[in-house]
């Protein structure tokens, strides 16, 4: 009853998949945050002029990620780009995350009280100093929970990269399931690993938030 044909090599294989998942999430959030901060600031400061940008980002948010992967992958071949599947995955996930992050940053910036900004400007801070020392720190605290949610959801979305041939955690477990025919056990292990990664991310985030909250 308790016998299983899962081997330590299989477990190692799963962990390798998990590492790929982590790397993909890191890169996607790195690109996504950088892009989101830039686009979000632009959207908040020049809402009219950046309307076309909003439409483009809307498209990236509404088209299912799977379609974006496949489309970009074929586009890549047509354009003759010599990108690895991993780079493609990072790029697509990064743009997808950036599209969401833009909205998070935009609403964070807009939530900073204009009166507080005014007080800053009245002391002689110029536009950029106001942005750097008042708006950004305040908006970061406001936007952080949304950003953390995005990180967790991007981590789960990385599973879709299996469609362009990358073996991450979910794909790794599928491969093992196919071989040893013990889906319940393998998927439970994979689920636990996802859960564990999320737990670490959420914990780190909560600690940061708590440190900020002590100040309020």
């Amino acid at each position: 009853m308790l016998t299983t044909s899962i081997t330590s090599t299989d477990l190692l294989f799963l962990l390798q998949g998990a590492w790929t998942t982590i790397l993909l999430t890191l890169w996607a959030m790195l690109l996504g945050t950088a892009g989101g901060v830039i686009c979000g600031l632009l959207r908040a400061t020049l809402p009219r002029a950046t309307l076309p940008l909003a439409w483009v980002l809307d498209a990236f948010r509404s088209v299912p990620l799977l379609i974006q992967f496949v489309l970009f992958n074929s586009l890549k071949s047509i354009a003759g780009l010599d990108w690895s599947a991993f780079s493609v995955a990072c790029a697509v996930l990064g743009v997808y995350a950036a599209a969401y992050c833009t909205e998070i940053v935009r609403s964070g910036v807009l939530a900073v009280s204009p009166n507080v900004r005014r007080a800053g400007r009245s002391l002689g801070l110029n536009y950029w100093q106001d942005l750097r020392y008042i708006v950004m720190p305040m908006a970061t605290r406001i936007a952080f929970p949304g950003w953390l949610n995005l990180t967790l959801s991007v981590m789960k979305d990385t599973a879709l990269v299996m469609w362009i041939g990358i073996v991450e955690l979910l794909r790794a477990s599928q491969i093992i399931v196919t071989r040893i025919q013990e889906p319940l056990l393998v998927l439970c292990i994979a689920g636990l690993i996802y859960y564990f990664i999320s737990l670490v991310v959420a914990r780190l985030g909560n600690q940061l938030e708590k440190r900020w909250q002590e100040n309020d």
Partner: protein, 240 residues
Amino acid sequence: MIEIENVHKSFGDLDVIKGVSLTVNKGEVVSIIGGSGSGKSTLLMCINGLEVIQQGSIRVDGTEVHNKATDLNRLRQKIGIVFQQWNAFPHLTVLENVMLAPRKVLGQSRAEAEEVAVRQLTHVGLADKLKVFPGKLSGGQQQRMAIARALAMSPDYMLFDEATSALDPQLVGEVLDTMRMLAEDGMTMVLVTHEISFAREVSDRVAFFRNGLVHEIGTPEQVLVSPQYAETADFLKSVL
């Protein structure tokens, strides 16, 4: 010297200031009183260029405020303003709130800025709150911090916009004391206030605003005790 000449200001179709002239001399304390919506706050914001004007001119020490060539960030260094809502920077400690502008705008070293900040905060009675975040302060304490924050820039002028009207009655006194201290030190000040007795005590002149115009102006005795116009008297009756 602040010279306000025939200033007009509107928000879209709404004319808020309709030709105000007012001169504030060095060392003078001028109080502005008047009903809600008469344009008092708006005028203060125009003085340091936080709001643009449509007509007229405002000069501070001879510098035209509403002139494209004027470096507003530089001009604002010598005009401190304290708002009704104290507008603390919530992510910075009390000390950091006060040090921010001297460091970033005046380029002071950390030690220099800290020395000035501690001195100003001690002056307003917050020496024991340096490392505290504003969220943990009472309204009166936050307002005194805002005053210290403005004073740390060593301004030549201080503008107060109803600095006490968002405070609980028992906290009003401590903020008024701080302002009284400044007036005694010879600071040039413009006070928008509803505290008539305080205005009478510290002001050299009082201006009564009505419908975007200076309706009556003169010494505290003239305007507050024996006003010339019925509107002024009515207003005084309504706030006393």
